[in-house]
Structure formats: structure tokens, C-alpha cells
């Protein structure tokens, strides 16, 4: 497409150049020709004009001429003829003077080398000359005529000089130049014209050659930039852009087809080539055309430069994850046989930290190596020097199932009986626990978050299956509630599990698709889930849920409970929420019940359920089960 556009563009330029040249030929050359001719005639006639002026002055001064009658005197005529004869050279055919008598012109003097005419003989100028003579009588200025071949014989150019006496035209001096003089001028003009034509033709040919060479160069460069097999860019392209490319705005991902060597060894190189073609096709489908750049980096390695999204740092990760999913599901064909493929990806996001694209690619390559070491079919992200656990590590731990849920009971404040346990996830890393504050922020807005939610649900389902009398809750963020696979998974659970699995809606992130969150919560509620609003009173959306959904529990925001003893407003607000919930049939839960005093206060206010360190810290469910003091 780009190639076609360029071709069209160059074709238009070619047409443009040809048009301009044609215009130059059509309009400017005749003008240049005329100007050159006039300039040459002016150049040739100038000394004659100057000489005629001098003769005019001398005659008038020498013979005290006052009128035409003075000029017609024999002595004056002879002197004039003599002086005019000085102008005779090989270029001059005739030189004579005429005067006007009535409507007739007569010869005054004739200094021509041949066909000498008697003075006072009648002379009829040509029609063109008659017009020019009239003009001279008016303007008193010398005129030049290029004679027409059809009206005069052997004369090319004529100078018509006004002989002035007392600033009045009394006679006209004709200097006729031979036709050869005009032809010489025309020959010079023709030569100039010829040279101009040669220059223009040379210029046109040069421009055409330059354009064609450029076109050819673009074509071959493009050809040299594209991998013939896969149709994506090749390393030549990378090498050419490596210095100038604005890599800091791109995330770098290196894709490697897992066990490609086996395909080549088993099915042959032809099959391998087909796989590479299809693999490139899947990559093209997975990334944005015109924004992201796909380069065949090595045999089965593809480098993808993904343009960063300013609003979402992990946009590239999600795109890569989608590409990996596509690769896993794509029916790669060898002859008629369908095979499944996976790929390993090394990603480097913080390219702005690097001094060059090469350095960024190196980091992605290190991450790719790690992905291969960790069993392939995965993505590894190169990160360094972070206070948070690295995203690739979190992903790795989640994928390996290295997570556990701890539980904190929610108690009926009157009976001290456990209503349910809230599950709180922790990651396990070589025997150490990683708490949510170290990883939830990192994976927020990424596909890993959804993956984690699914693992948490699975973990709790396992707990519920093991312990039939337990009820648990899981926390769902708005991003979980707009994730179709998470919601579908929850909707697909058995009725018995749905009754015992409560959903706590947390308000921790910006919600872009609010209506979808509400719609999915309605569906979940309709399916039988009990819904609990976490941190009620901390944000606007909770009120939206209260108004639009049939909520079962409200967990009063921990900040209100924490300050309930010293802050009267907190107490009043808790009272108001509790009162409101009683009237609307919603059960209230107080979080952060830290001590006896807070407990007494919330009982006094009328809060029905409580949760907090005063009762228990979050811990593995087994510890609660072993401790018989708990009324579960």
C-alpha cells in the first residue's frame, strides 16, 4: 500500500515536471527568443543611433538649419550625404533621408552605395513604415523595424531616425541593414534557442534520471527491508533505523517460537517456512498496523516494537498476552495436519532508561532467555531495581500456583458466631509470604490481575469443598467485574458454592465502564451471590451500588471505625450509615475492630457484625479449624 502510494506520488511528480517543461517551451521560449532578438538588434543599432544623433547636431549647428527649406539646400544635402556615407559598412544596404511634402515623401539625400536616387524623387514607404513614420513625428524617437520578407527586397532591419530641427522632425533618416544582418542575428538567436533547448532537455533528462533512480532506490531499499518469506521487516531495516529510531516511546518484545527446531527436523524446512509465515501473520493480526513494528530478528525470533500508551504503562504487556493467546489457539497447518504452537517472549518496558535501541533489545533478550529457562510458553519482563515485586516474578508465582489465602472472620456481634471468613491473598516465594500491598499495585490493569482473581476463586472453591460448613468471601475489583471470563466463571459455579461464596466489591480503582460493572453485579446477584460493599463511605461508587443494586452487606469504612472513639463526626456518620442500613434491610459490618472500646461503641450504635484484629488477624483457615474456641 505504501509502495503504491509512493509510486503514484513519483508518477505525479514526473507528470508535473513534464508539464512545467512543456509550459517553459510553450510560453517562455518564444518570449526569450523575442527578447534575445530585440536585445541583439538594439546592440547592433546603438552605435548607428549615436552617430546619427551627432550628424543631426553637426548639420544643424554648422549650417544654422531652421527649417526643411534650409535642409534642402544643395550644400547641406551634400554634407548630409557625406556624413551619412561614413555609416556605410558591409551590413548596411541603404542609407538615405526623406522629407514630407504634403502627403508625399521625397528623397532628401541618399548615401547608399548603390542605386543612388536623385533628390526630390517621390518615395512610397511600405504600409508598416508609414505607420512608424507617423509615430516618429509624434514621439520624436528613433524606431526599428524588422522588415517582412514579402514586402521588401534584401532588407532585414531598418532604423528610422528622426532628424530634428528646433526639436521638430524635419526629415527621417533610413538605415537599411541587409537581410544577412537579420539572418546573422536570427542565427545567434537560433543558437541561443538551441542551447536553451539542449539545457532544458538535459535538465529534463537529468530530473527524469534522478526520479527514476530514486524510484528504483526506494523499490530496492523496500525490497531489502522486507523479509521475503514472512513479509515483515528484516534486520536490514532494523540496522538502518537503529540510530534514528525513537525507541523510548516503544516497548521491546522478542518472540521466539518454542521448539521450532523440532518442527524443522520433523517436518522439514518447507514446513518450517510455512510455520514462520503463519506465525508472522498471527503477529501482524495481534499488533497495531502503522503503530507497532514487527521485525524478523533471527531464524524463528521476531522483534516487536510496541508503541507505548501514555495512560497505561502495561498496554504492551496486555497486547503481548493477547498475541500469546492467539498463537496458542491458532491452527498452524503443516500440509493438512494442524499443530499447536507456543511462544516465549522477553519484554523490556522501560526503554526510556536505555541509551540505545540495541541496549533495550539486549534487555528483552535477557528476559527471553529467562522465559525459555522457566519452561517456555510464557512472557518474562525485564525489570530492575524495583521496590515492588517484579511483574514477571508475580506472573511466574501466580502461574505456578504459588499463592495462598489467609482468612479473617466476620463475627455476629451479638452471638460471637462467625458469619463468614474474608479471604485475603498472599504470594509464596521460597517460603516467604508476599503481601498484597507489594504486588496488587504492580499488576493493576494487567491481564495478570484477572489471572490472580481466577486463582483466588479456585483456591477458595477448594476450601469450600473441603469444609462444607464454611462460608468465605472474596474481594472483586471493578476490573474483575468487567472481565467477562471472571464473571462467566463465577456464574458457572454450582448453586451450593454460590450460596457459600460471598462477593466483596472493593472500590480501589477508577472505573471506566461503570454500567458494565453494575450489569454484571446484577447478574451475579440474580444467580444467588450475596454481595458486600467494602469500605462503604470511602467513595462515590458505593452509593451508586446501594441505589442500583440489592446489596446484602455493607462494610463500614475502616477509617470511620478507627476514629470512632475520638471523632464525633465519625461516630455520627457510622450511626447514620447503620440507621440507613437498618431501614433498607442491609446488614452492617464494622471493619478495623481493634479493641474492646471500639467493639462496645459499635454495639452501642447498633452495628450487627464486626471484623478486626480484636477478634483475629488474618491466618490460614486450618488454624481457625484447629482452634475449637471459634464458633464456626
Amino acid at each position: 500500500m505504501i509502495k503504491n502510494t509512493n509510486n503514484k506520488f513519483l508518477f505525479l511528480i514526473l507528470i508535473g515536471v513534464v508539464l512545467i517543461i512543456s509550459l517553459v517551451f510553450h510560453f517562455f521560449l518564444p518570449k526569450i527568443e523575442k527578447k534575445a532578438k530585440n536585445e541583439l538588434i538594439y546592440y547592433i543599432s546603438s552605435p548607428y543611433k549615436a552617430f546619427l544623433r551627432n550628424i543631426n547636431k553637426e548639420i544643424v549647428k554648422q549650417y544654422h538649419i531652421n527649417s526643411i527649406e534650409d535642409l534642402k539646400k544643395e550644400e547641406v544635402r551634400r554634407s548630409l550625404e557625406k556624413k551619412l556615407s561614413y555609416l556605410i559598412d558591409k551590413n548596411v544596404e541603404n542609407i538615405f533621408a526623406i522629407y514630407k511634402e504634403g502627403n508625399i515623401y521625397k528623397f532628401l539625400a541618399d548615401a547608399s552605395p548603390q542605386e543612388k536616387v536623385q533628390h526630390d524623387e517621390i518615395f512610397f514607404p511600405t504600409l508598416t513604415e508609414q505607420k512608424i513614420i507617423k509615430k516618429i513625428y509624434k514621439t520624436k524617437k528613433t524606431q526599428i523595424i524588422i522588415q517582412e520578407f514579402t514586402t521588401v527586397k534584401n532588407i532585414g532591419i531598418t532604423i528610422l531616425y528622426p532628424f530634428l530641427v528646433n526639436n521638430k522632425v524635419q526629415a527621417i533618416v533610413f538605415v537599411d541593414f541587409t537581410i544577412q544582418t537579420l539572418k546573422s542575428i536570427e542565427n545567434i538567436v537560433d543558437l541561443i534557442k538551441w542551447l536553451l533547448n539542449i539545457i532544458i532537455i538535459f535538465a529534463v533528462i537529468s530530473i527524469l534520471i534522478i526520479l527514476l533512480t530514486s524510484l528504483k532506490a526506494i523499490y530496492f531499499k523496500r525490497k531489502a527491508y522486507v523479509d521475503e518469506l514472512t513479509g515483515v521487516y528484516n534486520r536490514n531495516f532494523l540496522e538502518d533505523i537503529i540510530v534514528t529510531f525513537d525507541y523510548k516511546n516503544y516497548a521491546v518484545a522478542l518472540f521466539d517460537i518454542d521448539f521450532f527446531k523440532k518442527i524443522n527436523d520433523t517436518y522439514g524446512h518447507k514446513a518450517g517456512d510455512q510455520i514462520l509465515k503463519d506465525f508472522a501473520k498471527v503477529l501482524k493480526l495481534s499488533f497495531r498496523k502503522g503503530e507497532d513494528i514487527i521485525i524478523r530478528y533471527g531464524g524463528e525470533e521476531f522483534l516487536v516494537l510496541i508503541k507505548k500508551d501514555r495512560l497505561n504503562k502495561y498496554f504492551a504487556i496486555n497486547a503481548i498476552q493477547r498475541a500469546l493467546g492467539r498463537i496458542r489457539n491458532y491452527p498452524f497447518k503443516i500440509d493438512s495436519q494442524v499443530i499447536k504452537l507456543t511462544a516465549s517472549v522477553g519484554v523490556y518496558l522501560d526503554t526510556e532508561r536505555e541509551k540505545s535501541l540495541i541496549e533495550a533489545i539486549k534487555k528483552a533478550d535477557i528476559a527471553l532467555y529467562k522465559a525459555k529457562l522457566n519452561g517456555r510458553n510464557r512472557m518474562e519482563i525485564y525489570e530492575e531495581g524495583e521496590t515492588f515485586t517484579s511483574i514477571s516474578k508475580i506472573n511466574d508465582l501466580i502461574e505456578k500456583g504459588n499463592l495462598v489465602c489467609h482468612y479473617q472472620p466476620v463475627l455476629d456481634l451479638k452471638t460471637q458466631k462467625v458469619l463468614y471468613f474474608e479471604s485475603l491473598v498472599r504470594l509464596k516465594d521460597n517460603g516467604n509470604l508476599i503481601y498484597p500491598d507489594k504486588f496488587l499495585e504492580v499488576i493493576k490493569n494487567t491481564y495478570i490481575y484477572a489471572k490472580l482473581t481466577k486463582k483466588v476463586i479456585e483456591f477458595n472453591l477448594n476450601i469450600l469443598e473441603k469444609h462444607e460448613y464454611l462460608n468465605v468471601s472474596i474481594n472483586l475489583s471493578p476490573s474483575d467485574l468487567i472481565n467477562d471470563s471472571t464473571v462467566e466463571y463465577l456464574l458457572s459455579l454450582k448453586e451450593e458454592m454460590i450460596k457459600r461464596l460471598k462477593l466483596e466489591v472493593i472500590e480501589t480503582e477508577e472505573i471506566r465502564n461503570y454500567s458494565k460493572v453494575l450489569e454484571n453485579l446484577k447478574n451475579l446477584k440474580a444467580k444467588g451471590y450475596e454481595l458486600s460493599l467494602d469500605d462503604f463511605g470511602s467513595g462515590y461508587s458505593n452509593f451508586e451500588y446501594i441505589l442500583k443494586l440489592d446489596i446484602d452487606y455493607v462494610k463500614i469504612d475502616a477509617n470511620l471505625i478507627k476514629t470512632i472513639l475520638e471523632n464525633k463526626k465519625s461516630e455520627e456518620l457510622v450511626k447514620a450509615v447503620t440507621e440507613f442500613c437498618k431501614h433498607t434491610g442491609i446488614k452492617t459490618i464494622a471493619e478495623y475492630v481493634e479493641n474492646e472500646k471500639i467493639l462496645q461503641k459499635i454495639i452501642e450504635i447498633g452495628v450487627e457484625y464486626g471484623q478486626g484484629y480484636y477478634f483475629s488477624k488474618p491466618k490460614p483457615i486450618e488454624e481457625f479449624l484447629e482452634d475449637k474456641s471459634w464458633d464456626i
Binding site: E93, D120, I122, F123, F124, T126, T151, V152, I155, F174
Partner: protein, 150 residues
């Protein structure tokens, strides 16, 4: 041999060009004279006597003019040239060179070249003598005998 052939070819080509050029100028002149004579005689095919003309010139007029070439007794007008002595005609005569014009006493006019320019002169008194009316186009060339210095 080859060089000679080339020389002959070039010479022939040049000669043809020269002849053609002469014919072109001559034809133009015959055309102008024809128009003047037709206008003066007021006849489309005037009978014309070519006085002191060469035979080849007569052929040219026969071929390229509207004239009926005849003897001077039958002619409507006499075209004269090469007259070096004073002479008069009983019929309207029209000179084709300046000397003949000067020597021809009762010529009604002349056509000749001066300084490369075509000159037409018609003498008023002589036109009147033969009762010849001149049309508007030729009126500009009518001059008196005095002006024409005849």
C-alpha cells in the same frame, strides 16, 4: 566518383532553390502588376501589350497573369520597360522601371523598386488624358506631374 555525384547532387539542389526563389519574387511582382492593370482597365481579362519584353517574360505573364497578351494596336493597356529615349503612346501605357517611367511622356503610371521597396506611381494628368478612373485603394498613389518631376 562518389564525391562527384555528391557535388552534382548538391549543385542541382542549390540551382533548383535559386530558380524557385527567383520565380517566387517574380510571381509576386506579376501579381501586383496584374492587380493594378485590372483595376486601371476595369476588366477582368484585359488585353495587354508587353512592350520591349523578352520572350520568356511574355511567357511568364501568359502563364501567371489574367492578361490576354496581344499586340499594341489591340491592347487595352501597354506595359513598357527598357525605354531609354523619350516616347509617347496612343494608348494608356504603364512603366515597369523608373527610366521608362521618366522617358514615357504619357505613361499613366509605373511600378518599380526603390531601396528594396515596391513603388507605385499614378500620374493624375495622364489618367485624365485617357479618362481612367482610379479606385480607392490606388488613390493614395496618384500624384501630379509636378510632384513626380515629369
Amino acid at each position: 566518383m562518389k564525391k562527384r555525384l555528391t557535388f552534382v547532387f548538391i549543385m542541382t539542389f542549390a540551382l533548383i532553390n535559386i530558380v524557385f526563389a527567383i520565380d517566387k519574387a517574380k510571381l509576386l511582382e506579376i501579381k501586383i502588376i496584374s492587380e493594378i492593370v485590372i483595376s486601371l482597365t476595369n476588366k477582368q481579362n484585359p488585353k495587354v501589350c508587353l512592350y520591349k519584353f523578352h520572350e520568356y517574360e511574355k511567357k511568364e505573364y501568359e502563364n501567371f497573369s489574367e492578361f490576354k497578351i496581344t499586340n499594341c494596336q489591340l491592347a487595352d493597356i501597354i506595359l513598357v520597360k527598357g525605354i531609354e529615349e523619350k516616347i509617347s503612346f496612343k494608348k494608356p501605357a504603364f512603366a515597369l522601371d523608373y527610366i521608362s517611367f521618366k522617358n514615357c511622356q504619357n505613361c499613366i503610371g509605373a511600378f518599380y523598386w526603390r531601396k528594396g521597396r515596391p513603388q507605385i506611381i499614378l500620374i493624375k494628368e495622364n489618367l485624365d488624358l485617357f479618362n481612367i478612373k482610379v479606385n480607392k485603394e490606388l488613390q493614395n498613389y496618384v500624384v501630379s506631374k509636378r510632384l513626380a518631376q515629369k
